[in-house]
């Protein structure tokens, strides 16, 4: 077996999600190579070469890969993938965007968001918002895989000494161009890697009321998340959404405030180690997954919690 892991990065640093995909590759077995495609991304290649268990890092440093536009990046992956038995990427919006495109060009299926490696050709993946787990066996010669990060520990980012090889290839399709990105506030704790997450739902009633959650989060060193209802209502931006089609997270502690617990929300947080639910409706489904439930008016309970911390 030979594994190729597509590195997610911002041309400066290796994205944390990639380390989880490397672990999935380790469980498949065999050599692991990494592909870094970007522009002026030498520092990414150097960091990638230090990841434990990696044999070699292939670097395609070219302006056409600067913003990882799917058309250009997929054309490179297709060229490099030949000769590998497995190509993996993290199941982030980066991996989910480019991997199916590359898979189709290779005439291979994609196995999305694996949560377990059973054998080199057999994987477990959640379906129906995680209400069922499917064990699937692939007959393809190249297995195209995205990896659900929370189910694989991150590989050690230090300790490896992979070779670095500059490569060229891929095409500039000229089909798309990057314009801008509105990034979330970098001062806040990253939602996907936070140990503690405080999330608000429709019960918060407004975006302004999320200030209460930010205050609690600051005391706990926590990130702030939200349910789809809160995002749809315009209380908070989309990158805070936890759920089936938002972010899937598994912090040590997840505090759900004013969240009813719709199926699609539970899909994004039910792997959390400890779940707390604060809701004034004792019948809310969120209490069925909560380790600790508090039936209370959040506008009284949250300030009280804030004061107690």
């Amino acid at each position: 077996m030979t594994n190729l892991v597509i590195v997610e990065h911002d041309n400066n640093e290796v994205g944390a999600a990639t380390l989880h995909a490397v672990t999935a590759a380790q469980q498949i077995g065999g050599d692991i190579d990494l592909l870094v495609a970007g522009e002026n991304c030498a520092s990414v290649a150097e960091a990638a070469a230090k990841i434990a268990g990696v044999s070699s890092v292939k670097v395609a440093d070219d302006a056409k890969f600067a913003h990882h536009m799917a058309e250009n990046l997929a054309s490179l992956i297709v060229e490099v993938a030949t000769g590998y038995s497995h190509v993996l990427a993290s199941a982030t919006t980066f991996g989910k965007n480019v991997m199916p495109r590359a898979a189709a060009l290779l005439d291979k299926a994609q196995i999305s968001e694996i949560v377990e490696v059973k054998s080199p050709d057999t994987f477990v993946r959640p379906i129906y918002a995680g209400n069922a787990l499917a064990t699937v066996q692939s007959a393809d010669t190249i297995k195209m895989i995205t990896v659900r990060t929370i189910k694989f520990e991150p590989a050690a980012s230090e300790g490896g000494s992979a070779s670095i090889e500059a490569i060229s290839g891929g095409v500039d399709a000229g089909l798309s161009s990057w314009v801008s990105q509105a990034l979330s506030n970098n001062d806040q704790v990253d939602l996907t890697s936070a140990k503690i997450v405080v999330s608000g739902g429709r019960g918060m009633q407004s975006g302004d009321n999320f200030a209460m959650l930010h205050s609690v989060a600051a005391k706990l060193g926590a990130a702030v998340g939200a349910s789809r209802a809160a995002v749809d209502s315009g209380f908070v931006p989309n990158e805070l959404q936890v759920g089936q089609t938002g972010k899937v997270i598994a912090p040590d502690l997840y505090i759900a405030v004013g969240i009813s617990g719709a199926i699609q929300h539970l899909a994004g947080m039910k792997e959390s180690k400890v779940i707390v639910a604060i809701n004034n409706d004792s019948e809310a489904p969120i209490f069925q997954v909560a380790d600790y439930g508090l039936v209370a008016d959040l506008f009284e309970a949250v300030p009280e919690l804030d004061a107690a911390l």
Binding site: A70, L133, Q137, V179, L183, I196, N238, D291
Partner: protein, 249 residues
């Protein structure tokens, strides 16, 4: 411009999926089925593009068995002009679906395809990207805003870090995220009108495509449930439990 909207019939999102006792799959007998929510967003966007004069004709297409027609009729009731059902009783994988849709898009000469970003049953999140690849067209996934100006489109995409804006050349394949729009409700007269709109049926086999599945599902099982928790009576009890029992703060 003609636009192709791809839709999928799925288990209603409000219904909890039940795994069959023989672990062969999820039980879909006698349960409420509906149009995948993201597909409704895709169709709504096509309707708005038609209202804005960018699109002249909306074709809604789906691949599936007998009752797929119901889902397509819903699409016609929402306002699509005509429907195409590619008939098969097999459950095709996204790669095969993309091959079928490529053929439909080319036969119909559409200038754009829009699909939901993900079906809420198999959660694959692949079809739009694969179709875009096979057509060799531009790709814009997870769209929360689409502006088309001649042969260029400016698209805002929902990505993990926030919002990304890109420009793509037309023709393009786009996939809809939830914030793209709010799908309209269907009124009874629209349902009646939809019954008279054209519905083409094409047998999958007649397309002559390799649509064999690449994956074999060995089993489908329920995930382990969480142990029942406790209801605490006060904030101070909660903080005490988190500090001294769960030891997470």
């Amino acid at each position: 411009m003609k636009i192709l909207v791809c839709v999928k019939r799925v288990l209603d999102p409000q219904v909890k999926a039940r795994v069959k006792a023989d672990e062969s799959g999820v039980d879909l007998a006698n349960v409420k089925m509906t149009m995948n929510p993201f597909c409704e967003n895709a169709l709504e966007e096509a309707l708005r593009l038609r209202e804005a004069g960018v699109v002249e004709e909306i074709i809604v297409a789906s691949v599936g068995g007998g009752k797929t027609e119901e889902t397509l009729r819903h699409g016609l009731a929402m306002g699509a002009d005509r429907a195409i059902q590619v008939v098969t009783e097999e459950m095709l994988e996204p790669l095969a679906i993309a091959k079928v849709l490529k053929q439909i898009a080319e036969q119909e000469g559409v200038g754009m395809v829009i699909a939901g970003k993900q079906a809420i049953d198999d959660d694959s999140n692949q079809t739009a990207q694969m179709l875009s690849a096979l057509l060799g067209w531009s790709q814009a996934t997870y769209c929360s805003q689409i502006k088309i100006d001649g042969d260029m489109a400016t698209v805002t995409r929902e990505v993990d870090a926030g919002l990304e804006t890109i420009q793509v050349k037309m023709p393009a394949v786009m996939s809809a995220d939830l914030r793209l729009n709010e799908p309209r409700y269907v009124k009874l007269p629209d349902v009646m009108k939809a019954k008279r709109k054209p519905m083409d049926k094409i047998e999958l086999a007649s397309l002559g495509l390799d649509t064999a599945n690449r994956l074999t599902t060995l089993k489908v099982e329920e995930p382990e449930g969480r142990a029942a928790g406790v209801i605490v009576s006060s904030v101070s009890e909660l903080v005490d439990k988190l500090r001294n029992e769960a030891k997470v703060i």
